[in-house]
């Protein structure tokens, strides 16, 4: 079971976890990416996320399908937020349910690592004294 979503309203962690519930699973690993108050010592005011929606959904779906193909995983939920996020807000939630915990850990870590490399979502960090598209420049 795959459940993916791009949302411009706050992510519902409880719903993500509930959607991944499965009586045949003994382990659930969840990754939540949240907005940190500092980047390399500079105080962050907020983040602005944008995405190439159709392609982002397609790439997220690929990640979910690959995770299920590569590990013994029964359910995977990947919800990503877009728009303006404040400190402490949740940008991404990934929930992986598997019969055994090893697969849940591996699949969840694979999903977030791959998402950060392949999914066309971009964030701009707004600092007190400027702003920057993360990872854009060396």
């Amino acid at each position: 079971m795959i459940d993916i979503k791009l949302s411009d309203t706050p992510l519902d962690m409880a719903a993500c976890i509930g959607n991944a519930a499965d009586d045949a699973c003994g382990g659930q690993v969840i990754f939540a990416g949240t907005v940190r108050n500092k980047t390399k010592g500079r105080r962050v005011l907020r983040l602005e996320y944008e995405c190439y929606q159709s392609m982002a959904l397609k790439e997220i779906k690929k990640i979910a399908e690959n995770a299920i193909r590569l590990w013994d995983i029964r359910r995977i939920v990947i919800h990503h937020r877009v728009g303006v996020l404040g400190i402490g807000d949740t940008a991404v939630v990934i929930v992986v349910s598997a019969p055994h915990r090893e697969a849940a850990f591996e699949g969840c870590r694979y999903a977030i690592e791959t998402l950060k490399k392949t999914v066309p979502i971009w964030k701009k960090e707004i600092f007190e004294d400027g702003e920057e598209w993360v990872s854009a420049h060396t």
Binding site: C51, H80, V92, K116, I121, W133, S135, A136, H137
Partner: protein
């Protein structure tokens, strides 16, 4: 032929627009398209790297682009 190019993130910002219509030769390759785009917007060369997507899929330099394709310039992603 005319193709429409979508821009996101830092690219949208320096283009001052979320899309662009470009007049290019028929069946242009991704590599040639990149060269034309770089000529129009030299700022793109300051990026760490960038990719091109054709119809929602990352495209290699040798692929050709036809008139109906949805083309997007993909600067380094930073989701999560």
């Amino acid at each position: 032929m005319k193709i429409r190019i979508l821009a996101f993130g830092v690219v949208k910002e320096f283009m001052n627009s979320s899309s662009l219509e470009m007049d290019v030769q028929e069946a242009i390759t991704v590599a040639a398209l990149k060269a034309e785009f770089e000529a129009l917007y030299p700022e793109i060369k300051k990026l760490k790297t960038y990719l091109v997507a054709v119809n929602d899929t990352y495209a290699g330099d040798d692929e050709t682009v036809d008139a109906n394709a949805e083309v997007a310039i993909i600067p380094p992603v930073s989701g999560g």
